[in-house]
Symmetry: C2
DNA sequence: CAAGTATTCAATTGATTACTTAAATAGTCC
DNA sequence: GGACTATTTAAGTAATCAATTGAATACTTG
């Protein structure tokens, strides 16, 4: 075998390491979850409906492909995406899949069809409308994910607190809800609830990492008044 | 199992179809080759050092993931990338792998180390220098790949004709050679040969699809004088 | 140091995968 | 129609993979 061939084989073998990481549906889901912020193994197992041991194994694969990193914090191992480039890459994968695989469009359409339609997001325009007081942007993810990173000016009301905290929302303002991304159903559930209670509510189907990937600013930590 | 869970599972299963396509090194190589232009199965088998039957099977996988399309031309089946988005995606994969996997950088460095260093490309600047007559951009790929798509103003001299056609090149001009991409060695071989003959020669390690992905213009067909 | 907890590891299972060889299709050209 | 060609399919094999189970590791807290 020629040295050239050997070189090519080893180069493409490296590329395929990343490919292999994305070859298992659950691993892609784990990457999507980690795009919301750092998580322990147990939390990831819970969120992805995997056993803890199995989650640990998938994370090992991702770690060996350098897509995630682990930080030992005492008893816990906290995993996070190795790099913002990784979440951008997963976004690229998702857009390619949506463009090329009609089945994916069908699946998402079938699930959300009866509930709402989503409009393409224009970030700067949305922020202007927030500043003018026309719109409330609502982050319905768990609060810690909001703290990790959120759309500027968004309010945090986790989905499971929404019913109890409806009073905090003004009925005069349109509400735009978002959650983890297009395969997360929390924002859609929120919109359903809000509409039932008389609000004008819409959904953004993109998550914070998509927002960031579009080059729009995100806020970390709490909202400074 | 909840309908939510079922939805997520089927959505991520679709994403993983693309992932699985990239899980075999040879399939990534095939995509890279197809980024140079349409190819028959036999040609791809030759270029990727696979058996014809095996190549056909890999192509079937890629076709089922909608990454490539096939057009039957009489006796031949001609494969091509389904979409420019696909080659952009492979480029993204490559950049991610280079950023995250030190092994890949090592492998490429080890192979090219003794031969040349590559400078980052500034397309517009390169084209200006071509227009001023300071530089010749040399496309050393097979002529049909040049015809499919090439860097504007580039001259086509396939690597295996280069030795015989050195007379066509002016010794007063710097030569910048390119080929299929960073894992293709033709440009490096060309530079080695040219330097031995007294030329000032450099290499671009990106291919035409990377050039296009950067938003720079490419030329299809022959160069119009 | 003992009990408890979060995570990883090891061994096993059944399923999938890449590749080979050989046969089957489907088209071309005399 | 028969020989030839390019490609696909089928069958078989060895290797790899995802998931399960149960044990092992490593850290914390009393």
């Amino acid at each position: 075998m020629s040295p050239q061939r050997r070189f090519k084989d080893s180069a493409y073998e490296q590329l395929a390491r990343i490919g292999k990481s994305l070859a298992a549906p659950k691993r892609v889901e784990l990457l999507d979850l980690l795009a919301q912020g750092p998580r322990t193994v147990e939390a990831l197992a819970e969120l992805s409906a995997l056993s803890v041991a199995n989650t640990s194994q998938h994370l090992k694969v991702l770690r060996e492909a350098s897509l995630v990193s682990r930080e030992k914090q005492g008893l816990y191992g906290v995993y996070r995406l190795a790099d913002a480039q990784v979440s951008r890459f997963v976004g690229t994968l998702r857009r390619l899949a949506h463009a090329r695989l009609p089945e994916l469009a069908e699946v998402t359409h079938a699930y959300f069809e009866t509930r709402d339609t989503i409009d393409p997001v224009d970030g700067p325009e949305l922020l202007r409308r927030v500043r003018r007081g026309e719109v409330t942007v609502l982050d319905v993810r768990p609060h810690d994910e909001y703290l990790h990173e959120h759309i500027p000016g968004a309010r945090s009301i986790p989905l499971d607190e929404l019913r109890a905290r409806l009073g905090e929302l003004s009925e005069c303002q349109e509400i735009v809800a978002y959650c983890r991304g297009p395969y997360c159903v929390m924002a859609a559930d929120a919109v359903t609830l809000l509409r039932k209670r008389g609000f004008v509510a819409h959904r953004i189907d993109e998550g914070v990492s998509d927002w960031r990937a579009r080059g729009w600013r995100v806020t970390q930590g709490a909202e400074s008044a």
